[in-house]
Symmetry: C5
Subunit: 312 residues, 5 copies
């Protein structure tokens, strides 16, 4: 018996992004998935039931299952991580046997973020819906005009604009190939938050510590630079809570590492000047220091420039 | 067969606000929704069952579904985010076929806050109940005298007073228009908390740092101003936990940014005075400083005034 | 047909307080509710089933529902906030048709705390059980000798002693009056925690800052008082996490506000003394200061006394 | 009809301790409960079903309930606090009507800790399994050789060694006595954590502050002692998060209270010495101070010794 | 009747690691388990149903249970801790009675970590799937070519590479031996995080405190060393949140303990030098100090080297 696989038109509307837990890389979202296919076995005469359409909701979904004998394009979200709450399900069957399945769901999806350019990273979000039955029974096809990101999605941290959908053939949980529908969007972050909470404070602290170079008081400079090392360590720890413990440093980690190093060098440098001073070589100290007033800011700019060049 | 849509009277009583999670923009609430409609197919003779009313609760709700053949104005909350717990459901059917559906539910709703005037923002809260079936079958109508916010709602942060309800026609999850009942209220925040926890501390710190201007000790002033920059940075970070990471600055963010800048300028200014002093120009320093005693407070007032003017 | 409402004896045993989340005003608790009523329709002959009592548990509860036709005094907890987990349910029916319903549940209840006298506040806790059916069908009556607070309740923060129960007629979720059984208890807090964690530290800090008045070093005093302002601000922020963001100040907030103000005044006062000193009026400063040694502690006592008088 | 209660052999294996939430006094655990009893009504002929044993699992547990008519020793955990997840249930019935019920469960139990000797406290853990039916129907008996604590229990904070089981007759949720099986174990804490995280830091801080007594610089000592008061207050707050807000002080609280007091006395003492110095009585100060070098450490040892004597 | 146990081919694909909660030692994961066995009772003629394979999913799983009479190799995860969410289940039965069971699940597993070499520890992760029925009915056998760790597992902290599977015979919850399938993998941690967040900061702080040895200002050194003791205590507390409260010290704990001790010794040493100085033995102090410049770094290296030698 030759068997032509049934085509299942598939669309997905991402309606709400409830939460993005970046350190565990989980997105909780509410969406609606729509499947449309043709099943001659479900065709009926409108006279028979005195209706133009047969409609099944959550409350009588079992009746639909009985009528299909379980033979419908059941699916699963491949990168789902907990339970899937079906907020509601509606099935419409037309007399010619064309079926539409609509499900509004709330679930959480695995994300695989690449934080290396953080916080200037553009992250990819995927929702994978896999057919339960093999490709020789059901083949997915992207549905025209249904898939969308609702403008009311409620996400404030990432800038959601475009998306794309695709269908592939995968061997995931099963041993034979099944159809996979993928809803994907790439999103950068709003920069205001990071600019204001990270870069402005860091710049101000560096600026203030630079200004102390114009006070020819070496002890005070040692204190300020020591304080800054501790401050930047604390800063760096607090930033680390935003993402998982990874095998690589992010852009902002490297910027922080540079501030560690520069401030440690500043401490060593000023201890040396102080040592010169206590050994009555104040003049040598002053001569060296006149150079440092320029080397310090230029060094920072060069190091940060090199970091930017490396990461972007 | 011409088909007149059934009118569904809809009301909602908001009974408890369990929690408002502002950084994820989620409101967990307990409420009661009431639907009333006429279904001739459910009419019965009181003699038949020896009763004036047929009543169905959670325990025999399936019986109601069987009797209607699933044909009742089932609904979903459009901006619900997790599971909806039906605390109890009661259906009353009168002999003439008029039906009342009452459900007490506990669920969480998406909020879309605009924090820009925070903490003087007035936020809008919406509960959207959507019909599952199209408008040509069921059309919602606001019910008279049922909708309310229970005075025992238990919300302490927002001042809940008025509300309004409306019915619109939307194309949300489905492809044909469905009826949407919206329960909306706008609420400002109680100001005592923010006044006492944010503005009083900030004012006291600024006041204390201003007073040091009357001590003609430039080193001490540099220390105080440097300390204040760090303090305001910490303050600003702790405030940032109240709302999501957004693409804009709130009123209180800008106030904080002003304190950053002013204190950084104060550091630079005092380093300059100190520099004058060590170069034996103490008199010039004192002359300049006499002006600063006035410029400093006036500058603050002007900047904060401009911020208020911009935001409100 | 005249209809006499069935009397439902109602009792509640509060067995465990799992958690009291004060900032969201939620109490999670385990309890047992007992309902007893007479239903002639359920009377049976002991011979018929060869048993003295018919017993239904969770596993065959549906059978009980079938036998009553759903006609039993079903209830709901009015101030419940999430799901109600029925840990177990037992129904006993005697040959004369007297029925006892016992349910052990675990759920969370809304609290409406008044924190104004915090931490010396006495809070009221309510559990409201509402009948689902109107008063003309079932009327609740407090049961003798069942209601209790289990001595093993496990609550450590509040002192639970007495309780009372009452029955009222309310219009809550329904449109007709239903019977409400209320289990209420008022509880003060154990004071040891607050005494040791708040009042002792505050007193010690004030004491230490007072002692510096005996060191005639004005700069040092300015430093100490400035440090204390910051310390009390941090203290006050950390206390604020114990309760929601409200429209009023609590007793402990006002105490904190007083410490803010006094310390700010101390800063201003000492800057003035320092100014006198640098303008060679050290004697005037010393004369003024001798008065302050007495005014300072007396001022504190008076302010705190006035606060106590206002709040209690 | 005389009725002999059925004996129910009961055993419990504690397999995993998932979490012990000490500040809410909740233990989440996984265990297996085993019940064995004789029910002549379930006896069968092996030929009839061509089997030596009838086995029921979760999937056909309802069939077992039907065959017993709900008449089996159903139970509940008395100190359970949320839902009980039955990970699996297996019932074995032998031809002679002897039944074995095995259930692996995951649930959370209430604990009633006495923290007064914290962190040297030995806490008692209880799991209470109560029969649902009265003692005249089912009486529990401890089962030989089944109850155990799995060596793989996964608990790291408490040292679990011995346990005991017992059966008592209680009136808990019901009004007639029911059988209660109790699984109990007492467990002390591993001391390494507390030694290293609390006592070593406290000792080091006290040691360092003691050393400053050998520097005859009173101002510096005042600074150190003031800093220590604040440090110990912060320490004490952070420790308080480990247990609920209680009506009594723990051992470690009292140790902390002693450090508060001693350091406050040290501040007062040194202000007095400083006052002597500024009033040109440096010699008197030195003479007094020589005594303090000995009184200080001895005082600490005596106070801490007294605390230990009081608590243990 | 002689009874040969049925062989059950078992495989497991670990697809996502949702979260590893190290302080509670819990791993939440998504995986697929596959069981394959032969059941002659399920054999059928393809003509009978006009199909090559009988397929059961979640929606008609009960039908499969009915057809087997509950007689299938049901299993449980032995080290599971909460509920197991079956994301989907598919059963395929071929005409010859060979059955394949596929279940995608999401659940949490107990881990037993040995943190002693933390953060250079290699941890073992286990997933134990136990048969519910005894070994004389079902015996597991590892399935060829199915078990795997999905490269998209999403774990960032541990380096997952190899795994192994095995089958053992255990007496766990039951009293007779059952078959256990174990999926195991050992994983080290990515070192970048710990290197950058712990070892670099500690090294920098030690380096800076060492540099102060070249400033012959003993008071300043005392301050720095005292500050470092507090800093390292805070550091050590913050590290302690990564793992449970255990009965042993980890590698990083011991490193921290060494920094406590060394800094305390530095305080004592410098107080002694200061004492020498104030007693006009500055020369002795300087002579001693010249040695310390070398002893200090060498001491650190030796102590840390000994710690490494002990732990690895």
């Amino acid at each position: 018996m030759l068997h032509v696989p049934t085509e299942v038109q598939t669309g997905l509307k991402l309606q709400q992004i409830v939460m993005i837990d970046q350190s565990n890389e989980i997105m909780t979202a509410v969406g609606t998935i729509k499947l449309a296919w043709q099943d001659p076995k479900l065709a009926f005469s409108p006279d028979e039931c005195n209706c133009q359409v047969k409609e099944y909701t959550e409350n009588n979904f079992n009746q639909f299952l009985t009528e299909t004998g379980g033979d419908w394009p059941d699916f699963t979200f491949f990168n789902q991580q907990g339970n899937r709450w079906a907020l509601n399900r509606v099935v419409d069957v037309l007399p010619d046997g064309s079926v539409t399945y609509l499900e509004r769901f709330s679930t959480n999806f695995q994300l695989n973020f690449d934080f290396s350019q953080y916080p200037f990273d553009v992250e990819d979000f995927y929702i994978h819906a896999d057919m339960l039955y093999p490709e020789d029974r059901y083949v997915m096809v992207p549905m025209e005009g249904f898939s969308a990101i609702d403008p009311q999605h409620g996400e404030d941290e990432f800038i959601l604009t475009d998306f794309d959908t695709s269908v592939t053939s995968v061997i995931a949980s099963r041993v034979y190939p099944t159809s996979r529908f993928t809803f994907h969007f790439g999103a950068p972050r709003y920069q205001v938050y990071y600019f204001f909470r990270i870069f402005v404070p860091v710049l101000l602290i560096i600026l203030i510590s630079y200004i102390t170079f114009f006070l020819k008081d070496f002890t005070r400079r040692i204190e300020v630079a020591t304080g800054n090392v501790l401050l930047f360590i604390a800063f760096s720890w607090s930033l680390a809570e935003d993402y998982p413990r990874m095998g690589y440093l992010t852009f902002v980690d490297v910027i922080m590492a540079i501030t560690f190093m520069v401030n440690t060098l500043v401490v060593i440098y000023n201890v040396y000047l102080k040592w010169l001073e206590t050994h009555e070589k104040r003049e040598t100290a002053d001569r060296i220091d006149r150079v440092a007033d320029w080397v310090y800011p230029i060094g920072y700019v060069v190091l940060i420039g090199a970091t930017i060049a490396y990461f972007f």
